[in-house]
């Protein structure tokens, strides 16, 4: 290739790789070295993408400090630059990158905390859906024979995460909701993420509830999901798990076997 293709391809190659020389074919009006000017573009690209990650992972950034986070994010940008102009989706690979990032290994809770923050951003931008009214659901719940085979469609924003670390408490501490020195990061926790109104909530839930929500979300029946949840957590209480989901506008459809779809 020659001409415009050649020089733009050379620019593209050099933008994310500071080791590459400044491409030929660039000129300046005053004869100054184009390197100082090309550096503006390199800086814009990397800094803007690091800022995009900082917006998505604010608690991760607070936990490691801005200089560490920015250095880690720069490595991620060089390794996994965005493939789409829609940056709200950028950073899907970041928690996995953090898990493999040697200098962050001592902070074992960091990858799952980043996963929680990613889940929050996804929940914020998830599709809209009208939740079923609690009064309507109350009618279904009074028909116990059909409950085991019932399936539900959960709100698109609703997700759960299970972690070996206290991710929900760590996140809450960084919102000023509790004291950080009272959090033991090594305690396993599960978090439920849900968008209610304009806000994305993070709730600490039991292992059983997390397993229940995950299975229902995958299309499992109430009976199967409750069985798995009880196996994970002997004290699992189906009624309070359902109440929690309903309270957070989490059920958008209720599928009773043999009935028309609601």
């Amino acid at each position: 290739m020659s001409g415009a293709n050649g020089v733009l391809d050379a620019l593209a190659g050099a933008l994310l790789d500071p080791g590459q020389p400044v491409p030929a074919g660039l000129v300046t009006w005053n004869g100054s070295d184009p390197a100082a000017r090309f550096a503006v573009y390199r800086n814009n690209v990397v800094v803007s993408l690091v800022e995009a990650l900082a917006d998505t992972f604010p608690v991760t950034r607070e936990l490691v400090g801005a200089p560490f986070f920015d250095a880690m994010a720069r490595c991620f940008v060089a390794e996994q630059p965005p493939r789409s102009p829609i940056l709200t989706g950028y950073g899907d690979g970041f928690p996995g990158f953090v898990a493999a990032f040697e200098p962050a290994k001592a902070l074992a809770y960091l990858p799952d905390l980043a996963r929680l923050e990613l889940a929050r951003v996804r929940a914020y931008h998830a599709a809209d859906a009208e939740a079923l009214e609690p009064t309507m659901l109350a009618g279904y719940l009074t028909d116990p024979h059909r409950l085991p085979d019932t399936r539900m469609t959960l709100h698109p924003s609703l997700t759960v995460l299970s972690s070996d670390h206290a991710i929900a408490s760590l996140w809450a501490a960084h919102q000023g909701e509790r004291r950080i020195d009272e959090v033991d990061p090594a305690l396993p926790e599960c978090a439920l993420v849900a968008r209610v109104g304009d806000d994305v909530l993070v709730l600490s839930v039991t292992r059983g509830t997390a397993a229940f929500v995950a299975l229902i979300g995958d299309g499992g029946s109430l009976g199967d999901a409750a069985g798995v949840a009880a196996a994970r957590e002997p004290a699992f209480d189906l009624a309070s798990a359902l109440a929690l989901i309903i309270r957070h506008s989490g059920i958008v459809a209720w599928h009773v076997p043999g009935d028309l779809e609601t």
């Binding site: 020089v7 000129v27 004869g31 100054s32 100082a36 000017r37």
Partner: protein, 283 residues
């Protein structure tokens, strides 16, 4: 029909609630298309509420019209849906590239001004206008480097794109100033070279000061400061030359309180209706 003294600002999530509850003495808001290409949630809901009361300008930053790669047709489809839903008064994009077909660089990168790049840009503009079924406004860029290969000026290039494609122009007066200083040119030369009838919207923003390898001024288009005095002067001359055009204050960094941006927009309105800004008289 909008009044000639039409003013707007970029819509910032931090200002949305205040705008919806207290209103704003503005005619339109502008958003970056790519921030609203999401499935649902508060962004789209808020934009709908703003759209019920104000005109909208949708400004794309991801089409890579100047790029050597083919246009991303999936992205064009998403933009078409967004424009159908919000029916903005204007849709604009940049004379720049931001993707090589694989990586998205999240910056507006420069192109050489040659016959070959002109043909490619015109193909892309034709494609965009055809797919979106509307006129595209193409924005002049801020640039920090130039290409040895360029054979025409930016103004000549843009004028020829308008002539061949029928697109309109978004004249960013700050970009005109920044690029002129960065390349040792007269800012007015670009503005004078543009077909006046094609300019449908104007952008104003602030820049940061830096220096190049020779110690000469190098201005960085940060959108992080108030509009500079030199840019206001250039804007005043531009409006005297073109007549009033819808004008937007852009701010993407260090977002100030809403009233600061509204005051800047009102200063633009004063220029558009041909009176001196009140704030200067009061000072």
């Amino acid at each position: 029909m909008m009044s000639p003294a039409t003013i707007g600002i970029g819509l910032k999530p931090a200002h949305v609630k205040q705008i919806l509850s207290a209103g704003a003495p503005l005619d339109f808001f502008e958003v970056h298309a790519e921030n609203y290409l999401v499935a649902g949630g508060p962004f789209l809901r808020h934009l709908e509420q703003v759209r019920e009361r104000f005109a909208l300008s949708i400004h794309g930053v991801g089409l890579s019209i100047g790029g050597t790669a083919p246009l991303d047709t999936n992205h064009l489809d998403r933009l078409a849906n967004l424009l159908r839903r919000f029916e903005p008064a204007w849709f604009s994009e940049h004379l720049a590239w931001c993707s090589d077909g694989t990586v998205f660089y999240n910056d507006l990168l420069p192109i050489p001004y040659t016959e070959r790049s002109l043909a490619r840009v015109c193909d892309h503009v034709d494609h965009v206008q055809e797919r979106l079924g509307r006129r595209l406004l193409l924005e002049n860029p801020s640039t920090y480097i130039e290409f040895a290969a360029s054979t025409v000026t930016e103004g000549e290039f843009l004028a020829e794109v308008v002539r061949r494609t029928g697109c309109g122009l978004l004249l960013d007066v700050n970009n005109a100033y920044v690029s002129a200083v960065n390349h040792g040119r007269e800012p007015w030369d670009l503005i004078a070279a543009l077909p006046a009838d094609a300019v449908d919207e104007i952008h104003l923003a602030g820049f940061a000061e830096d220096h190049d390898g020779a110690g000469d001024r190098l201005l960085i288009d940060t959108h992080g400061m108030p509009v500079a005095d030199a840019v206001w002067a250039l804007y005043q001359r531009t409006i005297a030359h073109l007549g009033p055009r819808p004008t937007l204050i852009e701010r993407d960094q260090d977002i100030p309180p809403l009233h600061v941006l509204v005051d800047e927009a009102l200063r633009a309105r004063s220029v558009l209706i041909g009176v001196e800004p009140q704030s200067e008289l009061a000072a």
